[in-house]
Amino acid sequence: MSKAMAHRRLDHVAVAVFDLEAGEEVDVVFSEGGDPLRLRIQEDIPLGHKVALKDIQEGEVVVEYGEAIGRATAFIPAGGYVHVHNLKSLRWDFGGRR
């Protein structure tokens, strides 16, 4: 049984469908089909929260559903936890001016 699911093959993040623990290996399946991706989880990630499918650089636009969902505010390794501490909206994005 897969423990994480992503929408598109080119997405940068998947969603945990069970609580994930640091160090475990999971097979990520894709809604649009294709082979699962084997991934080592770097941090505890609760059900419903996101895990990085690849190394994401600081400042990189993060993709889910094949669309931009925000900008990384720090480097996120593959298998790392992606949430409000390292991902910000592109809307009302004033480049840190306020």
Partner: protein, 383 residues
């Protein structure tokens, strides 16, 4: 699918059979509650507004109140106002449907006499309503609505795509399906615009969306502190774009045929339509019901408990923790869809089975628990 419902004098079809008492202002709530206390079984739609409103804000309140009286889930209505003029205006709009409706004013009479006179009418309407019989109805005769709430990424992944399949099916069978949540399209508005059926609809949609964003920015603020909500963030949603992209999964793939103002009336056979509306659960459902929705599909991740006084709200959740901890609120649990154990088609069939039962009269979780949220949307302060 074997559906039954109540056919009203104007031909519209409801799936419930209520008699409502509609106060047009805050001062009339006491009388409305008095009528509902004397005649148990009628529904009093109390609310805190209706005095010294003006312009489009007042028109929206009138449209919402009259829309509830006109909703096909309603057999007949009693309208109460402190003054006769506004009560009669709301009643006359409801009367256009051919339903029985009477208006009462409190001034010059007092609460007690008004409660007695209005209760005698409510008594008669409730008995007449009880004589109505269900008859076979078709999907193409229904106006329905959709919204998600207390969302989390399990909706974008599972619950909303399953509801999207249901919406595609119902629209294909000729139903009208209303979606809204203007603020929660932020980050996915280009995808909705691309699905508008004509350039005119696209222009109307983009004008509505942009004027909403301009309204936010004219206050010198943005939505980032409230969209996503604290509950969304706890559930794993990080940005408004991610929330919007998950949100629109439930609209399916049909073209968008119309753009409605808040609470604007819409009939069956119109396909998928967008209504400019708040993303707050009770406000959006109230506006959709005013527009004519007789049944609402509601997907939830973290566990929104909303209902409506007149319309069954069918709750769908793929989140296994929510389905376990809050099971009395969930009509269609879908954790097995999240885990990949069933297909989207199987999940959609399960939702449609509960839809069929609910249309035929089976009570939803929100009806059983007495969730009757009725919340007016205000556009600006009263005079």
């Amino acid at each position: 699918m074997r559906l039954t419902g109540y056919r009203r004098p104007n031909g519209r079809v409801g799936v419930r059979n209520h008699v409502v008492v509609l106060p047009v202002d805050d001062l009339s709530n006491k009388v409305a509650e008095g009528v509902a206390a004397l005649i148990p079984g009628v529904v009093a739609l109390t609310h805190p507004y209706g005095r010294l409103q003006f312009g489009e804000d007042l028109e929206l309140t009138f449209r919402t109140l009259a829309g509830h009286g006109a909703n096909p889930n309603v057999y007949g209505a009693v309208v109460i106002g402190i003054e006769p003029k506004w009560a009669e205006r709301v009643a006359s709009e409801i009367a256009l449907t051919g339903k029985p409706v009477e208006a009462f004013a409190i001034e010059g009479q007092g609460d007690l006499r008004t409660i007695e006179r209005a209760s005698r009418v409510a008594y008669r309407l409730l008995q007449e309503a009880s004589e109505q019989e269900r008859e076979p109805v078709e999907i193409r005769e229904l106006v329905l609505s959709i919204k998600c709430g207390e969302s989390d990424p399990t909706l974008g992944l599972a619950g909303n795509p399953a509801l999207g399949k249901v919406v595609d099916y119902l629209v294909g069978e000729g139903a009208t399906v209303i979606f809204g949540e203007t603020s929660e399209l932020t980050g996915a508005e280009h995808l909705i615009a691309a699905r508008c059926a004509t350039p005119e609809v696209r222009e109307a949609f983009l004008t509505t969306y942009r004027s909403y964003v301009q309204m936010i920015e004219s206050k010198g603020v943005d939505l980032l502190g409230s969209q996503p909500t604290e509950g969304n963030i706890r559930g794993g949603l990080t940005t408004i774009e991610e929330k919007a992209l998950g949100n629109i999964q439930k609209t399916g793939t049909s073209p968008i045929q119309k753009v409605l103002r808040p609470a604007e009336a819409v009939g069956p056979g119109e396909g998928l339509v967008f209504m400019d509306s708040s993303s707050a659960a009770a406000e959006m459902i109230t506006l959709a019901v005013a527009g004519g929705s007789v049944l609402h599909f509601f997907t939830t991740g973290q566990g929104n408990v909303v209902g409506h006084p007149l319309v069954p709200v069918v709750k769908i959740s793929p989140n296994p923790k929510t389905c376990e901890a809050m099971k009395e609120h969930i009509d269609v649990p879908l954790p097995d869809l999240l885990w990949g154990e069933i297909s989207l088609d199987v999940a959609a069939r399960r939702i449609l089975e509960v839809f069929e039962q609910t249309v035929r009269g089976r009570l939803t979780a929100a009806e059983l628990l007495g969730h009757r949220e009725f919340v007016l949307t205000r556009l600006y302060p009263s005079a």
